[in-house]
Amino acid sequence: MSLKKYYIIILVLSFSLAAERSAAQAKRIITLSSAISETVNALGYGRRILATDVTSVSPEEINRLPKVSRNRSFSVEAITGFRPDLILVPEGDFSKENLYQFKSLGIRVVTIRQEFSVQGATKFIRQIAAAIGDKARGEQLAQKTENSVNITLSQLKKGNKSPKVLFIYARGVGTMNVAGKGSSMDAIIKLAGGKNAIQEFSDFKPYTTEALVKSNPDIILMFDFGLSSLGGREAFLDLPGVAYTNAGKNKRIVEMNGPLLINFSNRLPEAIKALNNRIL
């Protein structure tokens, strides 16, 4: 076989490999959670996102995209209208019927499971990259995130003892929940060098004044929209029971950006650092 023939074979092979690679990659993506949108963007595929859900507000170029889902309410047809070739959705947000509908339309849906830990964050990135069809970049970003988390953790400010932090998720007085063990907030508080004030139950449970006083947190943490839904700092400090806690006595009410803290994506190092700065 002549050298020229070899050359042609190699050329054809590499073309077909390249073609296969790009055919396997998703080009028109719909991302249905803030963490997923953020991660796809960080992987360098932000421009391939056609539409997102209502929680995907950062960065700005993602925020400008059409929002096709609001609190898990959406229309299959409206999503299909964007002619996506990949829909990335948190596990459990699509019903059996929805999955069946997209399947019968020939649209690929990948459900992404989220775990609230450093391992979970890197797994989350790898899952999304694999769904898009670029495992290599996923590996890169996962490594980078993990390294950066390790550096952040080694540089954390440390107090004499880790403060007890109570997280309250508020949507106005009357709809307040506190974060128990195993929740996303529990995990991020621990990573940032704090201690979750609630150890008796898991997940989010409704807030009660007695539970607040009993847990006696050093710091009360809320999302920015949460605190404003209660009427701001002063109004919150006036709520029954708050004055009996260390946090109330020292007026240590911390408000932070919600998605940053709970997303557990590539911005995890940033989230740990920011929370650490505020509670220690």
Partner: protein, 347 residues
């Protein structure tokens, strides 16, 4: 003569609204392609009949099952509303008001909560039937309960009936909430589905499962209309003619709750259709059940198809719960009936 006109108009209206329902949606699909796809499926060609990929998929897999579900659920709610009002001898006896729908949804939620135990051994399609039968049982039990609670001297007492409805709605709502709270969040994503209803989950699977549950009552109930007419005068009248009032009652309740139960199982609670439709029907053509029952089915199908179009098109790209739309249409009628009854009492 007048009735022929009504049947023709409603039939034509339903056909037109089906066409619109297939042609309109969040995705813009040219009418030509809609006709093309449908005719192609039926086996003939109008505009050259080429395949249109995703558009064809949307029409065949999303819009068509959804439109069919709207027709079936609308017909079911319309005719069973009329039939139950006949048995209760009261125009306010509506499946969602007197708690029949809530009973159905409670059973459905219970079955879903224990889904993993049941479905894994039964498979998806059988699972849908189980859900439909369960909701049917829930609807039947609550209907009998409310009927027996509200019966005073053989006659349904309106206030007891409505109060029993409130109690059952509250209890079923609380139990549904409790189950939703206890079951894992992902399995029962959204309680609003059961409370507000939606046709968004329509697939060929659940539509074909719903079909017999609706067709049997829609065909069967009109055969009982003579009995229901006599019921309106009094149970003794039924016996005079030589019919068994108890049997008629049981047959009507079984058929009506069968339709309501299966509808609730696939589309959640869609309120006020069962109130609105029979009322409009009686306004148009009188109280004869031979007329009211079939026309209620036809008009229910028409109105629900229209309501679903509203829910799909008003707040694009997302959807309004269809229960919101039907409640907005139905509650004024409810108030109107109350005011009219009050005037009658005063005079």
């Amino acid at each position: 003569m007048k009735r022929t006109v009504i049947y023709t108009c409603l039939g034509a209206g339903l056909l037109v609204s089906i066409c619109f329902s297939l042609a309109l949606g969040a995705m813009r699909i040219p009418l030509k392609e809609v006709i093309d796809t449908l005719s192609h499926t039926l086996g003939f060609t109008v505009f050259g009949g080429t395949h249109h990929g995703i558009n064809e998929g949307v029409i065949m897999m999303i819009r068509l099952p959804r439109t069919l579900m709207g027709i079936l659920v609308g017909a079911a709610l319309g005719i069973s509303g009329a039939a139950i009002q006949g048995i209760f001898r009261n125009p306010l006896a509506e499946p969602s008001l007197v708690g029949i729908s809530a009973g159905a949804s409670l059973m459905a939620v219970l079955i879903i909560a224990f889904e993993t135990l049941l479905f894994s051994s039964l498979g998806q399609v059988l699972g849908y039937y189980l859900l439909a039968f369960g909701a049917f049982a829930g609807a039947g039990i609550t209907a009998m309960l409310v009927y027996n609670l509200s019966k005073v001297n053989g006659q349904a007492n309106v206030s007891t009936m409505l109060l029993a409805g409130i109690a059952i709605n509250a209890m079923a709502g609380a139990l549904t909430g409790l189950v939703t709270y206890l079951a894992d969040e992902q399995k029962l994503r959204s309680i609003t589905f059961w409370m507000m209803g939606s046709l968004g989950g329509a697939t060929w699977q659940n539509v074909s499962c719903l079909f017999p549950f609706v067709i049997i009552p829609v065909i069967g109930l009109p055969f009982l209309s003579r009995g229901l007419n006599l019921f309106a005068i009094g149970e003794s009248q039924v016996e005079l003619i030589g019919l068994n009032p108890k049997r008629i009652k049981i047959l009507v309740v079984v058929l009506a709750t069968m339709a309501v139960g299966a509808s609730v199982a696939v589309s959640g609670i869609i309120g006020f259709i069962g109130l609105l439709i029979p009322h409009l029907t009686r306004l148009m053509g009188g109280v004869d059940h031979r007329f009211v029952l079939p026309v209620s089915a036809l008009m229910g199908a028409l109105v629900l198809t229209l309501a679903d179009m509203v829910s799909r098109l008003v707040v694009q790209p997302i959807e309004l719960p269809i229960g919101v739309v039907t409640a907005l249409m139905g509650t004024p009628i409810f108030l109107y009936i109350l005011i009219k009854d009050k005037k009658k009492l005063v005079n």
